[in-house]
């Protein structure tokens, strides 16, 4: 580079600076401010408090405080939050407030606030399983009945009335029993796990690992979608099995997204699957797109992980009003599975989560 060309650049850049570059940042700041405001709204949405009741609350309503995780966490949580709002409504005789945050200390602060407000019931789905002893004891001292939903807390069982959760191990058993009932000559399974160590992964894997140890099935590839339950990772697990020439006839994926990624790998490799195909596809979570895929015979099976605990808790509260005792301890929800023979539109409508692609639409 010569000195001259550099000095040329000095001039041209000074010119452009004079003619408008200086003005650009102002519009840019405006855009920046707008985006900042958007970010503010979004982060505020992360820990919002939704008041289901208006200010003129009749005193006959049952006061309920709900401490939950944010709906943006997952399709499961969105369905769960909506369910809480729908069931604990004024029309059903409740004055309910819900706090949604993934921060354990914010959750604890919200719970303390509800106790101060004098709620009758406190419903908690905890971000962390620990750190809740004090607030649960102060709830007990204030005469507030505590129910846990979806997530358990490590504390003395006397600190809460009852917990209603999914039995992940039972989900795994249900999937395995369904598979073994297919009477295949051989079960060569690709296992695609979720986030390793999560309650869902541990519970849903265990029966399959045990069945493999007992020689009831062969696990020909054991992979994971990683911490984000990534469909793209699931696809890679299956692609690795295909290019390594492994023989398999079952893919058991621990959620619907993983199953979707796995099936993409089969499609690209021209391997048939679903009803009447070479490979049996098993998903989990009852996403509506997964259920529609099962309905169309593109997949074979998906397993429910039920996000709707509100009705059960509400029924306990109503029964208690008419004199019945509360249940206590850990109560597992009743869950179902869907395969090509039992799936119905009503099931997809009422039990599914997330967006419905519509009847007959396959999500590849």
């Amino acid at each position: 580079m010569t000195f001259r060309s550099m000095s040329d650049r000095v001039e041209s850049s000074t010119r452009s600076r004079g003619t408008g570059w200086i003005r650009l940042p102002k519009t840019v700041y405006l855009v920046a401010a707008l985006l900042l405001a958007m970010a503010g709204i979004a982060s505020a949405g992360g820990s919002s408090e939704k008041a289901a009741a208006t200010s003129s609350t009749p005193s006959s309503l049952i006061k309920v405080g709900i401490v939950n995780l944010p709906p943006a966490e997952s399709g499961y949580r969105q369905a769960n939050v909506d369910d809480m709002n729908n069931v604990f409504s004024q029309a059903n005789g409740y004055d309910a407030k819900q706090t949604n945050t993934g921060d354990n200390s914010e959750q604890i602060a919200a719970a303390e606030g509800y106790i101060r407000d004098g709620v009758n019931y406190l419903l908690i789905s905890a971000a962390n399983a620990t750190g809740w002893d004090n607030v649960l004891q102060s709830a007990k001292a204030a005469g507030v009945t505590v129910f846990l939903f979806d997530r358990l807390i490590q504390t003395d069982p006397s600190n809460f009335q009852a917990a209603v959760v999914s039995d992940m191990r039972a989900e795994g058993d249900r999937a395995l029993n369904w598979l073994l009932s297919q009477n295949l000559p051989v079960y060569n399974v690709i296992l695609i796990r979720g986030q390793l160590g999560s309650a869902a992964e541990v519970g849903r894997s265990a029966p399959f690992l045990k069945a493999a140890a007992d020689n009831k099935i062969n696990i020909v590839a054991d992979g994971t979608g990683g911490d984000s339950w990534s469909p793209a990772e699931a696809r890679k697990v299956v692609e690795a099995a295909i290019t390594a020439g492994k023989d398999f006839n079952v893919i058991y994926a621990e959620n619907d997204g993983l199953a979707q990624g796995a099936v993409q790998a089969l499609d690209a490799a021209g391997i048939s699957h679903g009803k009447g195909g070479k490979v049996i596809i098993m998903g989990c979570d009852f996403n509506r797109f997964g259920l529609r895929n099962v309905q169309a015979g593109y997949w074979n099976f998906t397993n429910q992980c039920r996000p709707r605990q509100a009705a059960e808790i509400s029924s306990w509260i109503k029964a208690h009003q008419s004199g019945a005792a509360f249940p206590s301890g850990i109560i597992y929800q009743k869950e179902i599975y869907a395969d090509t023979s039992n799936v119905t539109d009503a099931m997809i409508q009422d039990q599914g989560i997330n967006a419905d692609p519509g009847k007959g639409v396959i999500t590849k």
């Binding site: 949405g45 979707q260 797109f289």
Partner: protein, 368 residues
């Protein structure tokens, strides 16, 4: 000669790392390179790698440019791509009818949003002098919630043939579409670097901001530009990712890809403190990460141990790609080249600015 040496040693090591990984794969099974035709498209390990790494390659290119001029990294790329792809899906589904034209319109809308996000990051970094890692943390933290709201609190489903063909293969075309899109993007970017002074300017800003300003280069402008180009990269990556996925999952789409993009830049031999960079190196770095992930799967590494294995590999990669080892290797290749009388062909890089050797000029200025 000096130029050849610097590029040669810069690319030699990422290439040799890639070669070692491929060797491991070949030892595991000699059919590693075999390619067959399935459903009219090429199928095999190599197409799978090219297919799987497409988003990472595009983001690594943008990350290289941002790293060069801003001297730090953009943490928001994966989240930004989630927002742009949410906009793509939203516009496309609200358009009612899905045609090539509405897809193009939705993609352009997502590019605009990508540029806006880039402008936001750029404003914080270039105009307000916030550290890039801190500035981009804002979008990183809030972005998935924004995408979730754009999604209408559900994960919308594309489920139509056209977007499926973009995310997989168009009948009659033997190469999967994301591979083609990535190649087109790489070529366009190479043309951009060859026809403009962008590379020289951003390296100058990255090496010595004051010296660059004294020479008439406006650092604010260059950094802004880098973040805006990054915005386009995120839009393209988001477009490919969502058409591959077939539905928009605001929570998990392209999660943690920013870390791989940064790693790709580092493996490619560009300094994470900014200045000189090699786009070719970053692209090789991106493919190396993809090959590494697939190698671990091919070796049937236990899922519990897969992260530990990956970490060990990456430590080895980083040691090999470190400046100290690179210098050593550079001296080694020079020694060999001198012995052979310059007969050794060194792979040339794409997009290298042929007019000038920025290092000699700028570092000379720096010493003044």
């Amino acid at each position: 000669m000096a130029r050849m040496k610097s590029y040669g040693s810069q690319l030699f090591l990422p290439l040799s790392v890639l070669a070692i990984l491929i060797l491991v794969n070949l030892i595991k099974g000699s059919s590693y390179f075999s390619i067959s035709i399935i459903n009219g498209a090429l199928y095999g390990n190599i197409p799978n790698i090219l297919f799987g790494a497409s988003e990472l390659v595009i983001l690594a290119i943008g990350m290289t440019l941002v790293t060069s001029s801003a001297g730090s990294q953009d943490l928001s790329v994966g989240v930004a791509a989630t927002i742009t792809s949410a906009v793509f899906v939203w516009v496309l589904l609200s358009a009612g009818k899905i045609t090539w034209i509405t897809i193009l319109a939705a993609f352009l809308a997502s590019c605009v949003v990508g540029i806006l996000i880039g402008t936001f990051n750029g404003a914080l970094v270039a105009a307000l002098n916030v550290q890039p890692i801190v500035a981009t943390l804002i979008v990183y933290t809030a972005g998935r919630s924004i995408a979730f709201l754009i999604d209408g609190k559900l994960s919308p489903i594309l489920a139509n043939n056209l977007t499926y063909e973009i995310g997989s293969e168009i009948p009659g075309v033997p190469i999967q579409t994301p591979i083609i899109l990535t190649a087109v993007f790489v070529v366009l970017f190479a043309v951009l670097l060859r026809t403009t002074n962008l590379k020289l300017y951003s390296q100058s800003v990255g090496i010595n901001q004051r010296a660059a300003r004294l020479n008439g280069i406006n650092p604010v402008r260059i950094k802004f530009l880098a973040f805006m180009i990054m915005g386009v990269c995120t839009a393209v990556a988001g477009f490919i990712a969502v058409t591959k996925a077939g539905r928009h999952d605001s929570v998990n789409l392209l999660k943690d890809i920013e870390m791989d993009a940064i790693l790709a830049v580092a493996i490619g031999g560009s300094s994470l403190y900014g200045g000189k960079f090699s786009i070719t190196g970053s692209i090789i770095g991106a493919y190396t990460i993809e090959v590494l992930n697939r190698t671990l799967l091919r070796l049937d590494v236990d899922p519990d141990a897969i992260k530990a294995f990956k970490a060990v590999f990456i430590i080895i990669l980083m040691v090999i790609a470190s400046p100290a080892v690179r210098e050593l290797a550079g001296n080694g290749t020079k020694w060999v080249r001198d012995r052979l009388g310059g007969a050794v062909q060194i792979p040339t890089a794409i997009g290298e600015d042929a007019a000038v050797d920025p290092k000699s000029d700028i570092s000379a200025k720096k010493e003044v």
